[in-house]
């Protein structure tokens, strides 16, 4: 089915193409981005709250925007089939949530080393017992060391823009590893927000498997892979060496994604009120609440700044270090119990003592702005009415 789309560059699609405001859910925003990305193949497996995304992607397959789509047997089967299809040089999308992500993780952590370019939607939910379907982003901690590029969307608009950008970033010759776009289940996936979207008649240029830095395994692209040795599978010095240089290259590729995060998304962090004494720093849905806390603080004329972290991998160490150079305290609200973002920030700055661990909510609770404000008041040496009560 040909839909006569006009193919354009990602630069044009994200930065210049006319946009129209829509009021849609985060799941819709992700699917609408997929619709505009000239995706060849999408593979689906249900799990709440992700299912909504892959239902919608199934619909756009039925409408002809995607060439191939099927429901796999479970997540390891899904993620492995993605790895297989990537060898044939096609553009790929799948999405999952929480326990599904962990079930597919064996394949996912092998994607970067296998040089699998694809986009993975991560719609977060509880993974630990007692199990629930509620939003909690602890699963993102498991992706931090996988080699995958990891973006964290604050809202429906971010979900649309980051998902689109991800398709361009993953295929860059100097990146060519998967890009995951995470956002909180339900809070973003099932809630509506305003999204400025490009026309669906415009789509990202189709992939060119012959331009890939790692040739497709399609018996078409020289050099022919008829080599007869697989030294990595032996226990010898060559095996250690090959694994080590290969993984160094994966993590270098991950770092090289940063310039494209600047190009397409305006950079890995957003800073408001850079001269403030106290900062609220957050990613994903927590950034929306942190942004609101920042607005409260502005109204109360407090010296409070706001930092939103868009890129979790590569982690913007230098940018955060610079932004927090004169900060006296940095409050890090999160939607998980372990505080993986706080750990990352502490490791990035020389004076980790300024980090306030939390507030954290988990198990799917909402993150009231008041919780963040209490920490703001304490950090500024003010009295908190709530705490007093």
């Amino acid at each position: 089915m040909s839909l006569n789309k006009t193919l354009v560059s990602m630069e044009y699609l994200l930065k210049e193409a006319p946009r129209e405001k829509h009021f849609i859910t985060g799941a819709q925003a992700m699917a609408e981005a997929v619709k505009r990305a000239s995706v060849d193949m999408a593979i689906a497996y249900p799990i709440t709250p992700q299912s909504e995304v892959m239902h919608l992607v199934g619909d756009i397959y039925a409408q002809g925007h995607i060439k191939e789509y099927y429901r796999a047997e479970e997540e390891l089967g899904t993620m492995s089939a993605i790895a297989g299809a990537a060898r044939a040089g096609v553009r790929l999308f799948t999405a999952t949530s929480g326990p599904g992500l962990l079930r597919g993780l064996e394949a996912i952590v092998s994607w970067p080393g296998h040089r699998v370019p694809c986009v993975l939607g991560v719609l977060t939910r509880v993974v630990n017992a007692p199990l629930s379907i509620q939003p909690d982003n602890i699963e993102m901690a498991y992706l931090l060391h996988s080699g995958v590029v990891l973006l964290h969307a604050e809202n429906q608009q971010d979900t649309f823009d980051m998902t689109l950008a991800a398709f361009a970033i993953t295929e860059k010759v100097d990146v060519y590893i998967p890009v995951a776009v995470a956002t909180e289940g339900f809070f973003v996936t099932h809630a509506k927000g305003y999204v400025d979207m490009t026309s669906e008649e415009l789509a990202f240029n189709e992939p060119d498997p012959y331009a890939a830095p790692v040739p497709a395994m399609d018996n078409e692209v020289p050099p022919a892979r008829i080599q007869r040795d697989a030294p990595v599978q032996k226990s010898n010095f060559m095996s250690y060496l090959i694994h080590s240089v290969w993984q160094q290259e994966i993590w270098d590729s991950n770092k090289r994604a940063m310039k494209y995060i600047y190009q397409y998304l305006g950079g890995p962090i957003e800073v408001q009120n850079p001269d403030a004494d106290v900062f609220v720093l957050a990613s994903g849905c927590a950034a929306a609440q942190a942004r609101e806390a920042h607005r409260y603080a502005q109204e109360e004329e407090l010296s409070v700044g706001f930092i939103k972290v868009r890129a979790i991998r590569p982690f913007p160490k230098e940018e955060i270090r610079a932004a927090l150079k004169n900060a006296k305290k940095v409050i890090i609200p999160e939607h998980n119990i372990i505080g993986w973002l706080a750990t990352e920030v502490k490791a990035a700055i020389p004076n980790s003592g300024i980090v306030v661990d939390g507030p954290r909510v988990y198990g799917g609770m909402t993150l009231p702005v008041e919780l963040i404000m209490e920490q703001v008041y304490m950090a500024l040496g003010m009295k908190s009415e709530t705490l007093q009560a």
Partner: protein, 291 residues
């Protein structure tokens, strides 16, 4: 393109490894099966020669038969998983994907669908080759579901009735009562009925055999590949003993395979009517192909 892509430019040829050049000049690529194939093994440059398998390994022997039987080696991709087999398969001059544990049939589902998108008028043969553990234990769900989904590729199970590569543990395909590692008092249940499972799950061509006759083994491999191109999933369940873990003296490996042929690996061939028709067409076109 597939044949041309491996042929080096004449001026570049002298800089390539000898092994590569010999494969291009004297290998089976682009040749008529009757001029290469299993019947002529030893007279041409084979896709697999050296391998790190144990002395007397029946699996290595069968893997050589697989590669000598490929109808279209220049347009074939093999996929495997952890296990002894991949040590030899990865030495063959055919692109090989080493996936994660037991995920070979899921990977094959993705790659065959993607090949058909990109090359709708061509046959790119995809063959998964894994052991009994990889196919029937850890990869069971992915093996079965690929068949249920009617994915068009060939699945070959190298059944040595044990986890050979990890040191001799019980597998789902070990015999009841077998004393192996992780079954110190003997296995408590019988061999999984792989052939029946494959037929039930929708494979269009299924063979169970002990490959003591190379022509017969080759014919089954080629039929499985031809049928998978258009009709549906195909499955070969092949006995490839582990002479180490089952303590079979090297000189007795062939005798053991002959014994198995009289027993639980007695030759069985299943095909759908469509597959039967297809084979009749292919094999009547080339009488020399029938062995």
């Amino acid at each position: 393109m597939s044949l041309r892509y491996m042929i080096p430019a004449s001026k570049f040829k002298k800089y390539l490894p000898k092994d590569y050049v010999e494969l291009v000049d004297y290998g089976p690529f682009g040749k008529d099966y009757n001029d290469v194939g299993v019947k002529n093994m030893g007279t041409y440059k084979e896709l697999i020669e050296e391998h790190p398998m144990c002395s007397g390994c029946w699996m290595a022997y069968y893997i050589k038969i697989i590669f000598a039987s490929l109808p279209n080696p220049e347009d074939t991709v093999t996929i495997g998983t952890a296990g002894c087999g991949r040590l030899a398969i990865s030495q063959a001059a055919v692109p090989f994907i080493y996936g994660n544990y037991g995920d070979q049939n899921a990977m094959a589902s993705g790659i065959t669908r993607a090949f058909r998108l990109r090359f709708p008028d061509r046959h790119k043969d995809v063959i998964t080759i894994a052991g009994d553990g990889g196919m029937m234990d850890i990869g069971f769900s992915m093996t079965m579901h690929a068949w249920f989904r009617r994915e068009r590729f060939t699945t070959i199970m190298l059944d040595n009735e044990v986890y050979g590569n990890t040191g001799g543990q019980e597998s789902g395909m070990s015999m009841e009562g077998a004393i192996l590692k992780m079954s110190p008092t003997g296995k408590k249940f019988g061999k999984m009925p792989a052939m029946q499972l494959a037929i039930t799950a929708g494979c269009v061509y299924v063979v169970k055999m002990s490959p003591t006759n190379i022509n017969k083994a080759s014919k089954a491999i080629r039929r499985a590949i031809f049928a998978a191109r258009t009709l549906g999933p195909t499955f070969l369940h092949v006995y490839t003993s582990c002479n180490i873990e089952y303590s079979i003296p090297t000189n007795d490996v062939f005798r053991d395979a002959k014994e198995m042929e009289k027993g639980r690996f007695a030759y069985e061939e299943y095909m759908t009517d469509e597959a039967k028709e297809l084979f009749a067409q292919i094999e009547s076109k080339n009488k020399r192909e029938v062995s």
